[in-house]
């Protein structure tokens, strides 16, 4: 069974219906990129998948041993966080909040888990630094470590490279890819960056009037995919139709960092 199955979802923002009849599923180990123009309903979809708001219609089912509170989430940064006095260690530890229940303090395992994830994200040397003094890329790695404390299975990333410089963007994508390949964590990422989506993702969900869902290879062949890539000046040399993803991925040209679009 799939980790996440959505059937016939309708998404609404206020009175406006954004998307109707949205169905897709995410299996363990998938790397799904959700693309689409601003206002198309990407953020609403993520909020719905995270149970932060109820779908107008349709249902979301978790399966494959995934519990609703086993989801890691990397939200977009908020204004509050800009001047928040908190050390990196405190923030990463807060990823364990759903494990502690009503216990008032974090126990040894949770502290060890936070330490382990800080090492994974290579931010151990920043543990006692103040979050607001870090660079954008470092801040995202802190939030990623926190998300990893909450899950071993599924990560939601909402515009993870928005506002990062090209170098930090490339590093972020590599980190995410490593988590997907080595730790077998399912990735669901909202992105503006169609090039990165095509380079890293296994599946694409394109939200607009005609929703597309399928593997990356089908997307490239589809009219909407071609149109969207043209829109973003993408001339991708991808040989589609191969079943061996690894082999195929290696043929995709290295991402041209100049083409990376930051968020808006």
């Amino acid at each position: 069974m799939a980790q996440l199955t959505c059937t016939n979802l309708t998404l609404r923002y206020g009175e406006n219906v954004l998307v109707r009849g949205l169905s897709f599923e995410v299996n363990a180990g998938d790397y799904l990129c959700i693309v689409g123009e601003n206002g198309s309903g990407k953020s609403t979809l993520v909020r719905t998948l995270l149970h932060l708001q109820a779908p107008a219609e349709g249902k979301i089912e978790a399966g494959d041993g995934l519990y609703a509170n086993e989801i890691g989430y990397l939200p977009q940064q908020t204004l509050v966080q800009r001047d928040f006095p908190a050390s990196v260690r405190e923030i990463v530890l807060s990823g364990c909040q759903s494990r502690m229940g009503l216990r008032p303090f974090y126990n040894k395992e949770e502290k060890a888990l936070a330490q382990e994830n800080m090492e994974k994200m290579d931010i151990t040397h920043l543990a006692d630094r103040c979050y607001r003094e870090l660079s954008g890329g470092q801040q995202q790695r802190v939030l990623l470590a926190r998300a990893l404390c909450a899950t071993r299975k599924l990560l939601f990333l909402d515009e993870p490279v928005s506002g990062l410089d090209p170098k930090a963007t490339a590093e972020m994508y590599e980190l995410i890819e490593r988590l997907n390949r080595k730790e077998h964590i399912t990735i669901i990422m909202v992105s503006h960056d169609i090039h990165a989506a095509l380079r890293y993702a296994t599946h694409i969900l394109h939200i607009e009037e005609n929703v597309f869902f399928g593997t990356k290879y089908d997307y490239i062949k589809s009219p909407i995919g071609r149109y969207f890539m043209k829109l973003h000046h993408g001339k991708m040399d991808i040989r589609s139709g191969k079943s061996d993803k690894e082999k195929d991925l290696s043929r995709i040209p290295a991402m041209n960092t100049n083409m990376v679009k930051g968020g808006e």
């Binding site: 966080q81 050390s87 807060s94 909040q97 008032p104 630094r129 909450a150």
Partner: protein, 280 residues
């Protein structure tokens, strides 16, 4: 007579000792949630609630209640819950509701006191409710005990839910996504704020409460970098500033509330300078 002899002679009076106990506890409690309040943009709720508390005191004094706190506390807590409810729907509506309730409570409170007060010194009563003036020095033993119990309750709840409060303040969406009941903790924070405001009314009066809550947190944030150190520093700073302010006002005969806030402001300036120097 020197400064210390004067102080020691004053300490012989039980009401001065009561005042110091209540002052220290109130200062400690009010500083704990300062960071959360400032960062969650909740400070306006605190301000609104303090006006509500003023209205409630007016009603209590019109009704001639013997222990005003027993009426003011529930009334303020109920308003805190209501304000949070409206605040969570849409932003503008919530802001407008808070402005409406807080100004409305001020006006109606003064009107009630004017129409029904049996006191001969109305402006003195109003002044003492708004600015605290001398109410800290006229506490009865019952009020002191109630104050001590409430402060201990606030401190215990804060310690027990410290990590949750941090998580909810730092990132509400993440907390919600991993299954933390954010609404329940927001409600808890609002109720604690209401209790703190009622506690602090005696010390600084309803107009100056926000200063007591916000200044220590803002000062500590200039210098310290982690949530834990900021919390500890603002608690210590708040207690020290309040003690200094109270002693100055007792010995020098200045109004208690405004003296404490003046000391808080001085501390803020000092911390801001230290922060600047360190930053460079």
């Amino acid at each position: 007579m020197g400064f210390f002899e004067t102080l020691v002679s004053y300490l012989a009076f039980p009401f001065v000792r009561y005042a110091l106990i209540v002052g220290v506890l109130t200062a400690l409690c009010s500083s704990l949630l300062g960071v959360t309040l400032v960062l969650k943009r909740f400070s306006f709720i605190g301000d609104g609630l303090s006006h509500v508390a003023f209205g409630a005191i007016a009603i209590a004094s019109v009704l001639n209640l013997s222990n005003e706190m027993l009426f003011v506390l529930p009334a303020t807590v109920v308003c805190a819950v209501l304000l949070l409810r409206t605040g969570s729907n849409t932003k503008i509506k919530g802001d407008a509701a808070i402005a409406m309730i807080s100004v409305g409570a001020l006006a109606v409170g003064y009107l009630l006191m004017h129409l029904f007060s049996t006191s001969t010194n109305l402006s003195g009563d109003v002044c003492s409710t708004l600015f605290g003036s001398t109410s800290i020095l006229t506490l009865t033993l019952g009020e002191v005990i109630l104050c001590v119990i409430l402060s201990i309750a606030v401190i215990c709840v804060f310690v027990a839910f410290y990590h949750k409060i941090f998580a909810v303040t730092f990132d509400e969406s993440f907390a919600m996504a991993v299954g933390t009941n954010v609404n329940r903790y927001n409600l808890m924070i609002a109720v604690i704020i209401a209790v703190i405001i009622v506690l602090a009314m005696n010390l600084v009066g309803s107009l100056l409460i926000s200063a007591l809550v916000i200044f220590p947190a803002l000062s500590a944030m200039r210098v310290f970098k982690s949530f834990f150190s900021v919390t500890i520093c603002s608690a210590i700073l708040s207690v020290v500033c309040t003690l200094i302010g109270m002693i100055i006002s007792i010995v020098g005969g200045t109004p208690v509330g405004s003296t404490i806030v003046a000391v808080d402001i001085a501390a803020f300036l000092a911390f801001a300078i230290v922060g600047k120097v360190r930053g460079e």
